[in-house]
């Protein structure tokens, strides 16, 4: 497998981009940072499918495409099944010897938002991972249906204000916890499952290379700060991602073969979740005195999760 050197940023920057500008994602959107990083991490040919979501509607606005690779969009939920089919066909044609260029290295990648992966496409994703097709599935997790106006998804964390879980005098926003999709995918026994963040570019690029290099269905959940629905200034995308990883709201770790857990990033100074919540408009209401208990609960959950991850890493089970 031909991979790009990611020893340092200077070497990484010599790659030839395959994701073009003038897509219609919001200014400061982290989706395109993650997609660019994935496509720059390898120089193999890529076959990409994308679920409906911000990424799909913004990068393939007729009559333009922002992709310099093979790219397909079918339905809201079926990026995983579309890429499974493409991969199965590729393998079959390789076996039959009907490929034009059988030696060209090809990698199969599927992108989905959290709505199409955690909720709507969950069954298709689960099936594709279970069948073990040789592809990498990447979730661009912005914790809501940002494309359609910021409705709650099962990835939205407790306490967040969304357009269908509004904060007000009788509610503090979403009352349910975020679904732990990384654990669910690891439970499928996938060979490589990871949670990554775009602000840690090197860890992310390494994770992508590892996933592309691993045979079998790999799954990556990546936080993607959403300037529109999380309500922060577009220039602060990376700052908010920093707060997310340093407050351990988004711990960065990988799980190999469903059991071997490695923590990939340990913040030098762990900050309070308050700092992360305070940077975003969607949590503004939590700082009212009557909602303080939600912040305390989030902090408690985050601490417990971090403790759990550390113990899992130690125990190697």
């Amino acid at each position: 497998m031909a991979i790009t050197s990611i020893k340092n940023l200077k070497e990484f920057s010599t790659v030839n981009e395959r994701f073009e500008g003038a897509h219609l994602l919001c200014p400061g959107c982290a989706h395109s940072m993650i997609v660019r990083e994935l496509m720059n991490a390898t120089d193999d040919n890529l076959v990409i499918s994308t679920n409906t979501g911000c990424l799909e509607v913004s990068t393939a606005v007729y009559p333009y495409t922002s992709w310099d690779t093979s790219w397909i969009h079918i339905g809201f939920e079926n990026a995983a099944s579309a890429i499974s089919g493409a991969e199965a066909m590729y393998k079959a044609r390789k076996k039959k010897g009907t490929l034009k260029d059988p030696d060209a290295p090809v990698k199969f990648v599927a992108f989905g938002g959290d709505g199409s992966s955690y909720d709507i496409g969950f069954q298709w994703l689960s099936g594709a991972i279970e069948r073990g097709h040789d592809f990498t599935y990447i979730v661009l997790d912005n914790e809501n249906y940002a494309n359609t106006g910021g409705q709650r998804s099962s990835s939205t964390p407790i306490g967040a204000h969304t357009s269908t879980a509004q904060a007000g005098s009788h509610s503090y926003g979403k009352t349910q916890k975020k679904k732990d999709i990384v654990a669910i995918m690891a439970a499928h026994g996938a060979p490589y499952v990871a949670q990554l963040a775009p602000n840690k570019w090197k860890i992310m690029a390494k994770g992508f290379q590892k996933a592309l290099d691993t045979e079998g269905a790999c799954f990556i959940n990546s936080v993607s700060p959403c300037t529109t629905e999380w309500k922060f200034d577009p220039k602060d995308t990376i700052n908010v991602a920093d707060l997310a990883t340093d407050s351990l709201m988004f711990p960065i770790y990988e799980i190999i073969e469903g059991h071997e857990l490695n923590i990939l990033y340990r913040p030098k100074n762990i900050i309070k979740v308050e700092d992360y919540l305070g940077a975003q408009g969607r949590y503004k209401h939590l700082f009212k005195p009557e909602n303080r208990h939600v912040i305390d609960r989030i902090q408690k959950d985050v601490d417990a999760k971090w403790e759990y991850l550390q113990r899992r890493e130690e125990a190697r089970v």
Binding site: K10, S13, A104, N239
Partner: protein
């Protein structure tokens, strides 16, 4: 609907309907958009400026009209760390051979992420009004800030 975008000959991304393109009514099921004029092998080994893009690639379009502020690049201070390159959401930082060359104002939406992640003192990238003259902007560059004790 025609957009006049200063400083670029490219068409606005919303400016549809060139002769070769068909409307939604004539589109058959399953549309294929070819970004390159001829089949290309190993795109990853061809420099963007050497590629033969068709009108279907968004590379040939521009979103410059979105911009309110634009980043201005000061090559005297830049240390070529490439932080702006890796985090630019719009593929608008032009880097070749480990050197930062400048900003692609056709595709830059002016989000300001590049200015935030710039580590130099003073910053090598700063936001100015999108109509500001580049030389005027460079002449207004701030002095090095002293460390606060």
């Amino acid at each position: 609907m025609s957009q006049n975008i200063p400083g670029t000959a490219k068409k606005g991304i919303h400016e549809l309907g060139a002769e070769t393109k068909v409307g939604w009514d004539e589109v058959t099921q399953g549309v294929v958009l070819e970004p390159f004029a001829e089949p290309v092998k190993d795109v990853a080994h061809i420099r963007p400026e050497e590629r033969n893009y068709t009108d279907f690639s968004s590379y040939t379009a521009t979103v410059a009209s979105w911009r309110v502020l634009k980043p201005v690049y000061n090559s005297d201070i830049c240390i070529d760390c490439q932080n702006c390159w890796v985090w630019c959401p719009d593929t608008s930082i032009i880097s070749r051979d480990k050197q930062m060359l400048g900003i692609d104002y056709d595709h830059c939406k002016g989000c300001g992420v590049c200015v935030e992640v710039c580590p130099t003192n003073p910053k090598s990238l700063l936001m100015f009004d999108t109509n500001e003259n580049l030389d005027v902007a460079l002449s207004q560059w701030p002095e090095k800030k002293k460390k606060e004790k």
